[in-house]
């Protein structure tokens, strides 16, 4: 559905990941016999694709399903519906056993750098484990690769003998990145990788991620609630609201001219580091509706300042409004196609 971004020389980049109408619904059970009384529509029909060397940022407020999206793409959660195509291969229903080989292609960086590292393993073993289980290297060779990974992510080699709790938060996140890199994946799903870090350390980790992307031509699915961080690292940005993508566009286009009212509100909430700038903030009324019982029609109609009658009835599809700029809003009519 999206056009491939062009490299400088005009050659189309390969699609690493394509997600089509992906959905993840969690059944809610209650009563004595665990009767399913409803579903949480955490991810509800999301489509996008990511190309080599590209970062797709996913933003949205808490509970909009952005983390679930990341985990479902990795098949850490079983998708309810839709399709996940990784490097041309459909992995939506691949049995866990056969998924192992595919797992090399996509890795994850977690939000909490402490909880995602086994406290009983030495840092060197944590990074070396993926090499061992995929039979990529062993013995001295493995040790050398671990050493070069440590150097690559900016950890001291003598820290291989340390335990995760002996590292600082930023170092732990670097360790998590080294582990993800060990298998030389083509896609890394970063689930709020810097949210748990100090601002100064955030910048270092973000810059490390950018360097790695340039060197290894990595694709990132970068999930975050922090617009500034997403703006810094992403090429394209998807805005999620209640399990759906409401806007998907190139970074510059999205920040310059947001098409969806929710994106507008989100952007207006970003503080500007200049006290003289008077910004007109769009204050959204009310709370995010329950994902168990999403509103009819456009999910955003309960809080939208420009709500029309059609919004309450009909769900707006994600349409290409201007070239490469998608929005799911009834108020935006697609430009006449040329």
């Amino acid at each position: 559905m999206t056009e491939a971004p062009q490299k400088e020389n005009g050659e189309a980049r390969r699609v690493v990941l394509r997600v089509q109408d992906l959905a993840k619904h969690f059944p809610v059970r209650d009563g004595l016999f665990g009767r399913v009384s409803g579903h949480v529509y955490a991810v509800d029909g999301v489509s996008f694709s990511i190309h080599e060397g590209e970062t797709l940022g996913v933003v949205g407020e808490s509970g909009c399903g952005k983390s679930t999206l990341g985990k479902t793409v990795l098949r850490l959660l079983e998708p309810t519906a839709g399709q996940i195509v990784l490097r041309g291969e459909d992995i939506t229903r691949t049995p866990e056993r056969h998924l192992r080989a595919q797992r090399r292609e996509m890795q994850m960086i977690f939000q909490d750098p402490y909880a995602s590292l086994n406290p009983r393993m030495r840092c060197g073993d944590i990074v070396g484990e993926p090499l061992a289980i995929h039979g990529l290297a062993s013995g001295q060779e493995k040790d050398d690769q671990v050493t070069s990974l440590f150097e690559r992510v900016g950890l001291r080699v003598d820290q291989k003998k340390r335990y995760p709790h002996q590292l600082s938060g930023g170092q732990r996140q670097r360790l998590g990145i080294a582990r993800a890199l060990a298998l030389k994946p083509s896609l890394i799903i970063a689930d709020e990788p810097v949210s748990a870090l100090d601002v100064s350390v955030q910048a270092q980790v973000i810059n490390l991620l950018k360097d790695l992307q340039r060197d290894y031509n990595l694709a990132y699915l970068f999930v975050s609630h922090n617009l500034a961080v997403v703006e810094h690292i992403s090429h394209r940005i998807a805005v999620m609201y209640l399990g759906k993508v409401v806007e998907l566009a190139d970074k510059r286009a999205l920040f310059a001219s947001p098409l969806h009212p929710y994106t507008e509100a989100l952007l207006s909430a970003v503080p500007v580091a200049d006290p003289r700038v008077k910004k007109e903030r769009i204050i959204l009324r009310g709370d995010v509706p329950s994902p168990m019982n999403p509103p009819s029609g456009c999910a955003f109609h309960t809080r939208c300042p420009h709500v029309k009658d059609i919004c309450r009835v009909e769900t707006p599809p994600l349409r290409e409004v201007t070239a490469g700029h998608f929005a799911a809003c009834h108020l935006r009519e697609p430009a006449a196609s040329n």
Binding site: K71, L74, L76, L99, R100, A101, R103, R104, M106, Q107, M108, F110, Q111, D112, A115, S116, L117, N118, P119, R120, E129, P130, I133, H134, D158, Y163, G176, R179, L183
Partner: protein, 357 residues
């Protein structure tokens, strides 16, 4: 000016193994609990001594010098004819006839206690049970067998039986608990209901019925007791796995492509070992107690093996011979106390809230 030198982790080796700082702190805590620490040494010492029971209490000499030859009856069975006797059967060294034959042409070195656990002392000054004397330090039981010899062998049987049973039931318990906790859902639900029903069965009566059907033996008894004792650890291990399976590092391991069994044993189990290790000494004490009570009721290892429960039963049957009951009582009391003291020290050592300086 002092130079900044990266501090080298101290003493990160124990018995030649690499240990983590946590393990070092636990060892330190364990040692700091003096009662448990010495209990461990005493129990280990007693077990090592009884491990060589054949050299301490035996009706076969350690060494025989006969006709210029050195013979080792502890290891080799010699026929009586070897010493010029009449029968082709194994020599009865305690028999005065054989004794005289040997001493004519050499000498005999006896163990400290010249009785095995089955040896009947026919040479008693009064009818069995005979009171303590120079020959039988703690007297004899009602069949004329030396109490000290039976004690040494009985201690060995009890402790090794307890250890094997504890380890076997821990292995099964950990595997079941790990499976239930890791996979959760229906597996967990069915497992829990099964365990509830299983553990509400009257164990002792079922054990007695089973033991009276089958010919009792060490392995059979072990197997039958295992049927019930594995349940003990399932609860704690299951709880640890239920908690750990939602951790991010387990998710990370799955994302790396590790198989479920590898995740369970490499990532979750080491983190669940604390609960297992703390429970094990108490399971050991329970196992020893269970074996003793079965022996006491006469459904244990059988009459021809040494056992503390059997000694206790003799003490009950022969109130006029208090050395039987008292010996059994004190041995069991001391042994179980040692195990419990060790268990308390282990529990304290693994307690994350307890930090000793």
């Amino acid at each position: 000016m002092s130079e900044l030198v990266p501090s080298k982790p101290r003493g990160d080796r124990f018995l030649g193994m690499r240990i983590t700082p946590i393990t070092r702190r636990r060892l330190h805590n364990f040692r700091a609990n003096k009662r448990g620490f010495y209990s461990l040494w005493i129990l280990t010492g007693l077990f090592l001594i009884t491990f060589f029971a054949e050299f301490i209490a035996n009706d076969r000499p350690l060494l025989v010098r006969f006709d210029g030859d050195l013979l080792f009856p502890v290891f080799v069975e010699y026929p009586e004819t070897r010493f010029g006797g009449e029968f082709e059967t194994a020599a009865e060294y305690r028999d005065p006839f054989v004794k005289d034959l040997i001493e004519e042409k050499g000498w005999i070195v006896w163990p400290i206690i010249p009785f095995s656990f089955q040896t009947i002392n026919y040479d008693l000054p009064e009818p069995a049970p005979a009171p303590p004397s120079r020959v039988n330090w703690l007297g004899t039981d009602d069949q004329g067998r030396d109490v000290v010899a039976r004690l040494i062998y009985g201690f060995r049987v009890s402790v090794s039986f307890g250890f094997i049973l504890t380890i076997a039931s821990s292995i099964i318990g950990v595997m079941v608990g790990a499976t239930q906790g890791y996979f959760g859902g229906w597996i967990d639900l069915i497992g829990q209901r099964f365990i509830e029903i299983w553990s509400s069965m009257p164990q002792l009566f079922i054990l007695i019925i089973l033991m009276s059907i089958f010919e009792p033996s060490f392995l059979l008894l072990l197997g039958i007791l295992l049927v019930f004792t594995w349940v003990g650890l399932v609860g704690v291990v299951r709880a640890e796995f239920l908690r750990a399976r939602k951790f991010d590092y387990i998710r990370a391991a799955r994302a790396l492509g590790l198989s479920n069994s590898k995740i369970m044993f490499r990532h979750v189990l080491p983190n669940a070992m604390v609960a297992t290790m703390t429970t094990m000494p108490f399971i050991l004490a329970g196992s020893i107690g269970l074996l003793t009570s079965l022996d006491f009721l006469g459904f244990g290892l059988g009459a021809d093996s040494a056992s503390l429960g059997e000694l206790l039963r003799q003490g009950k049957a022969n109130i006029q011979a208090p050395w039987l009951g008292l010996t059994a009582f004190f041995t069991l009391g001391i042994m179980l106390s040692l195990v419990i003291f060790i268990g308390e020290a282990v529990r304290d050592a693994f307690d994350p809230r307890k930090i000793l300086i």
